[in-house]
């Protein structure tokens, strides 16, 4: 078995009485992309701050490719690249000046640094803005420059803390594409987000975090099947929906049925096969169907099921 790129065990951190992270453990394999999905305040930033050696953990241990991570100067730090949640750049310096600074802190030699800066600027498509001050950049450009600074030293694992928050849709798309490219090239990625779509799109495996605990972990389909979520057929209709719901729940393919305000929701194993009999049944009950939707289960519904609350409020 190969050493995982990152192994976190029993991480714990409290601020006074408030437990921010409560026994979080996970592993990320080489080249794997792992998503930490949870609402604001779940403990994502606290977890990765400990993982990157910024914050002293109250308990637990962290290994990066087998090397222990500490808050001081340690080898493990060379293997990680952190893209902080907030832009961490000097606004009054140019993109290149910022990169020179962070590159030198990573121990890159002057000549190595020069070629690396050109390379990372190309990766984030900022090569023609290298000499411009960061405070003149758009929000999306700042975000990309923020990512570039984490790539200089060729980390094994790129840690991104909500890198698309407050970014326009175009920049967001280009950031997500860029991360996908880095993954394709073999870089392991830890991606924290409260956007379910991003986790679904980018991550091989997802850990769902809430109130400092990792409540579930797995691939997207593993998570969905583990919590027993099934597709839902939603009929927009008028008539006696309550009677229809009772009748529908007696049907063999139907798992559950419930009537709401002008809507009937029917959980089924296979929507394609359940659809025609349902509409027939509605007609026979004198219910006029105005529309039909099939809702596939997603991480949002997994989260709702696990925690009883929505990912975003």
């Amino acid at each position: 078995m190969t050493t995982p790129t990152v192994r976190c065990e029993g991480l714990r951190k409290s601020y006074g009485d408030r437990v921010a992270v409560d026994g979080v453990s996970f592993e990320i394999a080489a080249g794997e992309s792992y998503g930490l999905l949870g609402p604001n305040g779940a403990g994502k930033t606290t977890t990765i701050s400990m993982m990157c050696g910024l914050l002293h953990a109250d308990a637990g241990r962290i290994e990066v490719v087998g090397r222990p991570m500490t808050t001081g100067r340690c080898d493990a730090k060379q293997l990680l690249g952190l893209v902080p949640q907030d832009i961490a750049l000097y606004p009054d310096l140019t993109a290149r000046e910022n990169l020179v600074f962070f590159g030198r802190l990573q121990g890159l030699s002057r000549s190595d640094l020069r070629t690396r800066i050109d390379e990372v600027l190309e990766i984030v498509a900022l090569e023609d803005r290298a000499g411009d001050r960061v405070d003149g950049f758009s929000g999306g450009m700042k975000r990309r420059c923020n990512i570039a600074a984490a790539l200089l030293h060729r980390p094994h694992l790129l840690v991104l803390d909500e890198p698309t928050v407050g970014v326009d849709p175009q920049s967001r798309a280009s950031i997500l594409d860029g991360i996908a490219n880095l993954q394709a090239a073999g870089m392991a990625v830890l991606y924290t987000t409260h956007y379910m779509e991003e986790a679904q799109r980018l991550c091989d495996r997802i850990g769902i975090i809430d109130e400092g605990r990792l409540v579930a972990e797995g691939t997207q389909s593993e998570l969905i099947s583990a919590v027993g979520q099934s597709p839902v057929v939603r009929l927009t209709a008028s008539g006696d929906l309550r009677t229809l719901a009772d009748a529908a729940s007696l049907q063999p393919q139907v798992l559950r049925a419930s009537a709401g305000d002008g809507r009937l929701e029917v959980a089924v194993a296979e929507p394609a096969r359940a659809l025609a009999p349902l509409i027939e049944l509605a007609e026979s009950c004198g219910v006029a169907v105005a529309g039909v939707d099939v809702v596939e289960p997603d991480l949002e519904s997994v989260f709702l099921h696990l925690t009883g609350k929505a990912l975003r409020d």
Binding site: A30, L54, L82, A173, D177, G178
Partner: protein
């Protein structure tokens, strides 16, 4: 504006990358941090205005507003001896046509009137002065001075010369009396004539300074502004250290394989360089543009260097304590002004009540720095004469620097 797509060029696979850089040395990190700090200062127009422009505007304005060589110098005299050396002093003071003499009974009234600006200087001639001078003692005439006042410095030189001459005269007369047996009166007269011949040039010289240029009226202003600005700009500059934290740059730096020693060392280095540059800039410009004679260069170099360490330490401390950059400025500037006022940057500490003088020396490094520079500029003190000031400034520097470094280190480690 449309965001360009990120490049599709694949990144080289990291785990197989052969040349992983080694962790940078403490020195490399410190240099990188200092370089960025200085570069940012060079782009900070407000900070540059405060460092490169404001001090000279103030020196010019204060120097012109309080001219020291306009008209007569007003001297308050308390005469407790009117014969012998005391008599000679009164004669010298009364005969100088650039002096306007007022007589007082009370020492404290003299000091008060100096503070009120009623008179420029005071001379207190103690009873029994002649006896002391005869026996070879010195320093018995007390001079209340406003060092900001160029004329008062001239006055001091003049009085020094008179007392010195009198000492010579008395010694020579006694010598003549003992050796030749001539009567005392004649010996005294002869000795006086001899000494006058010998020292006339000296008296003249001392009142106008070595180069024939009078001591600049800007001298006190320049030295007090030097101390004021080194400190005030260092405290305000603490804001850039706070920014390092609030911008998240410090955290990002801590994700690199670096020790806090490198980061804090670099910041301290650049803050020291900035304070040192500020100090010597004011010294050089005021010497060249305002004709300030700084006295012993060794005193200037040592005091400015030590005070730059003190200021850098205070700046780092402020950078560690303030929560926001604005806080560093909002607390730093008033604090620096109060310390400067207490430490004799606005009026000479010598005119402050004794209790205040003690408080100032306990609390402010400014008191020791202005004290050393004042003695060098106005009294011709050399380095050994200000040894105590130097030692105390070393202590303040060590205190501020160690506190600043330890606290900033803790802040960076988020403990």
């Amino acid at each position: 504006m449309s965001a360009p797509p990120l490049s599709t060029a694949p990144e080289p696979v990291p785990p197989t990358a052969p040349s992983r850089p080694s962790s940078p040395s403490v020195w490399t990190v410190a240099r990188a941090v200092a370089a960025v700090d200085l570069r940012r200062l060079a782009r900070d127009k407000v900070a540059l205005f405060f460092m490169l422009f404001l001090p000279f505007v103030l020196i010019l304005a204060l120097g012109v507003a309080f001219p020291s060589d306009a008209g007569k110098v007003r001297v308050g005299v308390v005469a407790r001896e009117t014969t012998g050396v005391g008599g000679k002093l009164l004669e010298a003071v009364g005969g100088a046509d650039n002096l306007d003499v007022r007589f007082y009974d009370d020492d404290r009234a003299v000091v008060r009137d100096i503070q009120l600006g009623e008179i420029d200087a005071g001379i207190i001639i103690p009873a029994g002065l002649t006896e002391v001078v005869e026996s070879g003692g010195t320093g018995q005439v007390r001079l209340e001075l406003d060092p900001a006042n160029q004329a008062s410095a001239m006055l001091r030189n003049m009085l020094d010369a008179v007392v010195e001459n009198q000492a010579l005269v008395l010694t020579a007369a006694r010598f003549a009396e003992n050796q030749t047996g001539v009567d005392q009166q004649r010996a005294l007269a002869a000795a006086e004539e001899q000494v006058r011949q010998l020292t006339r040039g000296q008296v003249q010289d001392r009142t106008v300074g070595g180069s024939g240029v009078p001591i600049s009226g800007f001298a006190f202003t320049a030295l007090s502004q030097l101390i004021l600005f080194m400190f005030i700009n260092s405290l305000a500059g603490g804001s850039s250290l706070v920014e390092m934290r609030t911008l998240g740059v410090a955290d990002r730096a801590m994700t690199a394989p670096v020790s806090t020693a490198g980061l804090v060392g670099g910041i301290t280095m650049s803050r020291f360089a900035i304070a040192l540059g500020q100090g010597f800039l004011i010294a050089v410009v005021s010497a060249v543009a305002f004709g300030v004679d700084w006295g012993d260069p060794a005193v200037l170099v040592v005091v400015v260097t030590l005070f730059a360490l003190v200021s850098a330490g205070a700046g780092v401390l402020m950078g560690a304590l303030a929560r926001t950059p604005d806080q560093a400025v909002a607390f730093g500037i008033p604090l620096a002004l109060v310390m400067a006022a207490l430490g004799g940057c606005f009026f000479p500490l010598s005119v402050a009540p004794p209790v205040m003088q003690v408080v100032a020396r306990v609390l402010t490094p400014q008191a020791w720095a202005t004290g050393a520079l004042t003695e060098s500029v106005f009294d011709g003190a050399s380095l050994p004469d200000v040894a105590v000031n130097v030692v105390v400034l070393c202590g303040f520097a060590a205190l501020y620097l160690s506190l600043g470094v330890v606290l900033l280190q803790r802040r960076l480690e988020r403990r």
